[in-house]
Amino acid sequence: MNPTTAVTATSRVQTLDWSAALKDAGLAGLVALLLTLPLVGLRTIEVQSRLTVEPHLAEVALTALLVFLGRLGLTLAAAGLARPVLAAATLALAAGWVLPFPTEALRVLMVIGALVVALRALWALHRRHDRLSQQERDRRMDHLGARFQDATRLIGPAAVMLAVALPFLPFADRATLDLGILLLTYIMLGWGLNIVVGLAGLLDLGYVAFYAVGAYSYALLAQTFGFSFWLCLPLAGLLASFAGVMLGFPVLRLRGDYFAIVTLGFGEIVRIILLNWANFTGGPNGIAGIPRPSFFGIADFTAAPEPGRLAFHQLFGLQYTPLHRIIFLYYLILALALLVNLFTLRIRRLPLGRAWEALREDDIACTALGINRTTIKLAAFAIAAMFGGIAGSFFATRQGFISPESFSFIESAIILAIVVLGGMGSQIGVVIATLLVIGLPEVFRDLAQYRMLTFGAGMVLIMLWRPRGLLAHREPTLLLHPRQSAFRRQAEAGGRP
């Protein structure tokens, strides 16, 4: 990366190039200075109802100094001075807690920065003896991925069993189940988007549009015509897939970036229509009082059912508790999500799924083989949109209230992040990425304003270490000798570069 590390890879301390290291760190400090000067250094404040600019130059200088030291520490740690750097970083870490700082943000910067440098130094100490090239490391991770994929044959069913048993485990309270429902909703959306992005390789930045269409379909159908949830679920899926085809047609001829931009626009168009068509969608006020689902139309989840209706607890002779409805919703989304998963696992082995993967790999070769790109692209859109729509109507019935705010671009981005972080096309990767992307911020709510900071740092780290996603290893769908495990195949294929 920089000359110092390259040189010291062969011989250490003796050849440490101090001037290069200082220059490098100075450059980092300068960048920090330039960035923080307008953002932090100058603040507008109101003094006697007049706006004035207040300089915060001390903070800027401190930030630049900290960045300089941090960068220098990183370089030195990599260049063989790991021990002294570790000591200094630990000292700085301790100092960060006690020293008085003008702002808390600076303290966080110092503590986290020192922590990173210390970790880097520890890492350098640990692996002095085996310096791996990027390629070797990638191969090693692929190896690990293949091994993990083998394990998923056990992990998958075990995770499903755990998910099924969750409501009856002793720690399963209302909050746990709500978190479970949230996670499963995103897992379902991730699996749905995975069809378009992971399998067919079409970068869809507006997936939330279908989620919105599904949610509003259910809400409006239920409120206007009094349709039941079980009737609306397939209808919402149908309407969403119709929206998918509507988006699909204009973008058929587009590729890559242009395609992504149009889908992004489509997502926004849907949201803006929902926002502005007030007498149909309720505009920014949204739709409230969306009916809750019944127990397959047989019984309702209420303490006191309307005359002529049966309540769930009466049907099974149980004590009434509001938790019944939550558990039911939990199982409902679990079943829906598993349905999407089952569909994807099956379709990968069918001609349509194969054609999608071929489209992702090389769309020109795809045409040369006689695959009709138009139909398979539309099919990918329609099917993924259908699952998005079904997830949307689940969302509507669970929340009881929807508004355009729930369907902003950030939702699309989060779902896409789940798919990309998990490793495009990997089903189990989506689950793990959802746990990280949705689960961690929920668990770390106590971190308050630093929650999103740690979240962002986590994303950056994953992309640094696993640029193709956590589980990028692709499992072949057919083999000459089907009994062979992915791990062994990897080992055999690994003989060749």
Binding site: P351, R354, A355, E357, A358, E361, D362, I364, A365, T367, A368, L369, G370, I371, N372, R373, R474, P476, T477, L478, L479, L480, H481, Q484, R489, E492, A493, R496, P497
Partner: protein, 243 residues
């Protein structure tokens, strides 16, 4: 060498193809008869690949007619042309890198799934190397193996006409000889009609029954492979210096 030409399988008459305002093909007349190996040679940018792509309907010819086995295919979409029995090994091979060899071959049979097992056996007989590597990802194959895979994949759809776009591109001489031997075998033993675009004029002309020479979007010369090989004009332009 010079086999009696069978019925014309493919005819192009007065074909013009445009990229926007640029005329890439300026009136091509060309025939391929059943059972022949026909090659098209020419310099870089002469329009060889464009001609092959036009056959497949991407881009479509603006004027002229392309007839395959008595049917006008000029205005058919690519996927329909492939389904009529024309398979293509595209320029630069374009195998699916993250899929295994077997999956690549299976995708070749996507338009003819019924004969998959039978064709797979045939391809593995032609290219035993592909069978050894069947579980390996396409991207990890060597260049020669990738070319074998591209040809094998094209054969999986059970075509009657095989189009090859520069099968020798970027390969070592020894590997090129292997590939060309296989093309000869496919033609002789299976009666496959082959239309091949090549830069490697020397080898292509030795293999082909008939050949066309293309310059600037026009066919300038035509004759038997051996005849063109002896032609002083062709020798000067495409053969000497290089080989």
């Amino acid at each position: 060498m010079d086999r009696a030409a069978g019925d014309p399988m493919l005819t192009m008459t007065g074909v013009h193809t445009f990229y926007g305002a640029i005329e890439a093909l300026k009136g091509i007349d060309l025939t391929v008869a059943t059972g022949e190996i026909v090659t098209l040679i020419g310099a870089n940018g002469a329009g060889k690949s464009t001609l092959l792509m036009t056959l497949c309907g991407a881009p479509q010819a603006r004027y002229g007619r392309i007839v395959f086995e008595g049917e006008d295919i000029t205005r058919l979409p690519t996927c329909q042309i492939v389904r009529r029995g024309i398979a293509q090994s595209p320029e630069g091979r374009r195998i699916f890198p993250r899929m295994t060899v077997l999956e690549n071959l299976q995708l070749g049979a996507i338009t003819a799934p019924a004969s998959y097992a039978e064709e797979l056996e045939r391809v593995f007989l032609l290219f035993p190397r592909l069978k050894e590597r069947s579980a390996q990802r396409g991207g990890t194959l060597s260049g020669g193996e990738q070319q074998m895979l591209a040809i094998g994949r094209a054969l999986m759809s059970r075509p009657r006409l095989l189009l090859l776009d520069e099968p020798s591109l970027g390969l070592a001489p020894l590997v090129i000889r292997q590939i060309f031997q296989v093309i000869r075998d496919i033609n002789r033993d299976h009666g496959m009609t082959v239309f091949m675009v090549e830069q490697n004029a020397h080898r292509a002309l030795r293999l082909a029954h008939r050949a066309y020479v293309m310059v600037n979007g026009l066919i300038t010369l035509t004759g038997t492979g051996a005849g063109l090989l002896a032609n002083p004009e062709v020798r000067a332009a495409y053969l000497e210096g290089g080989h």
